[in-house]
Symmetry: C2
Subunit: 214 residues, 2 copies
């Protein structure tokens, strides 16, 4: 059954089928933290229901443009050999299949950040995303032959780009004209990134040096 753009938009999905997208299924990893623990993390970041509201608004602006936004980011990645290498195959060539499949999930991640409830399914899928950056799971989903891990420090540094208002606000301005509201959307997006990076560190973390949990 072919789904139309309008139906996909209503579902906040970038495609009817997204290879390897296991959100909400048994195939997703389990988060090391519960929704209750995540509430405390949201408090620490001062992430509130206002932010949820502005993320929804941001998502409305991103819809239909996720491919363009991912291309913007990936062009910046491709321009840097130390970032580009994480997507190349072992011969140093671009792995088109891997790029396409992971690119579709990257697009969906934008909409999920904006529209999903940050519940246990969402927490679990953050852990799945995190694992897919590490040697434990990288390449497996797409049977790619690429670098075995993405170093955490590069993921975090690149978040400065994913959070860059100079790249994001033009997307918001296509739909909205109130700069104060656009600023709120950007702030909500940025807070969500800090929270997600906090979660994505989990599988990289050494229990010996930061004991208890992670």
């Amino acid at each position: 059954m072919e789904m139309h753009t309008q139906q996909l938009n209503e579902l906040h999905m970038v495609a009817a089928e997204i290879p390897g997208y296991t959100y909400g299924s048994d195939e997703s990893a389990q988060s090391p933290i519960t929704v209750e623990e995540f509430e405390l993390l949201k408090q620490a970041a001062r992430f509130t229901t206002d932010d949820v509201h502005w993320l929804r608004a941001a998502g409305e602006a991103f819809m239909g443009h996720t491919q363009e936004l991912v291309k913007t980011w990936r062009d910046l990645i491709s321009a840097q050999p130390h970032l580009r290498k994480y997507g190349l195959d072992l011969d140093g060539n671009k792995d088109e299949r891997y790029a396409e499949r992971s690119g579709l999930r990257f697009q969906q991640w934008i909409l999920d950040t904006c529209f999903r409830d940050y519940d246990q399914d969402w927490l679990n899928y953050q852990q799945e995303i995190a694992l897919r950056h590490t040697t434990l799971e990288k390449n497996k989903t797409d049977e790619a032959r690429s670098a075995p891990t993405i170093h955490l420090r590069y993921i975090i540094a690149f978040m400065a780009v994913v959070a860059d208002p100079n790249l994001l606000k033009p997307f918001f301005r296509r739909k909205y004209h109130d700069e104060e509201k656009i600023e709120r959307m950007h702030q909500a997006w940025t807070k969500s990134l800090w929270l997600q990076i906090a979660l994505w560190t989990a599988p990289y973390t050494n229990a010996n040096e930061a004991p208890n949990e992670w």
Copy 2:
């Protein structure tokens, strides 16, 4: 020898003596990465010499107000039991000496973020700061009897507050009136935070799950 405020300002120091502040000395830890490797990380974050310029400008605005800014952040920490606990002694009381000494270093961190060259000394001290959040070094510098570690996820989540433009821009506006320049200062500050968090993950990182380096 007593130093006057003007002299301290010229040196970009919040006090003539800062207990446990081992910046640039042999007592500081060594960074796991070199200046050359950090150049690549700056590229990943798109951190440029423009950002260095705007950080200097931000630093000029912070000078004389670092105590107030740290108090702003710490009041938010103190209001949350799950964050407050990292500064309490084992009896659940506030450790005044620990708070005072680490608070002075927290203030100096603001000026260092703005004024220091991000060279090997700076990289090394980032590692020292990171270690002092973990069981390897927490409490040792100040002989504190407090929680043995600060969980990485809370450090990262709280960066959303340390980066919050609603808290920072009023400080910039005391000195500057051009909102575009103030925005640039905030963007430079935020990029620096992403880079520093990238560095601070080093001692927490599990080499088994993200091999090579970290």
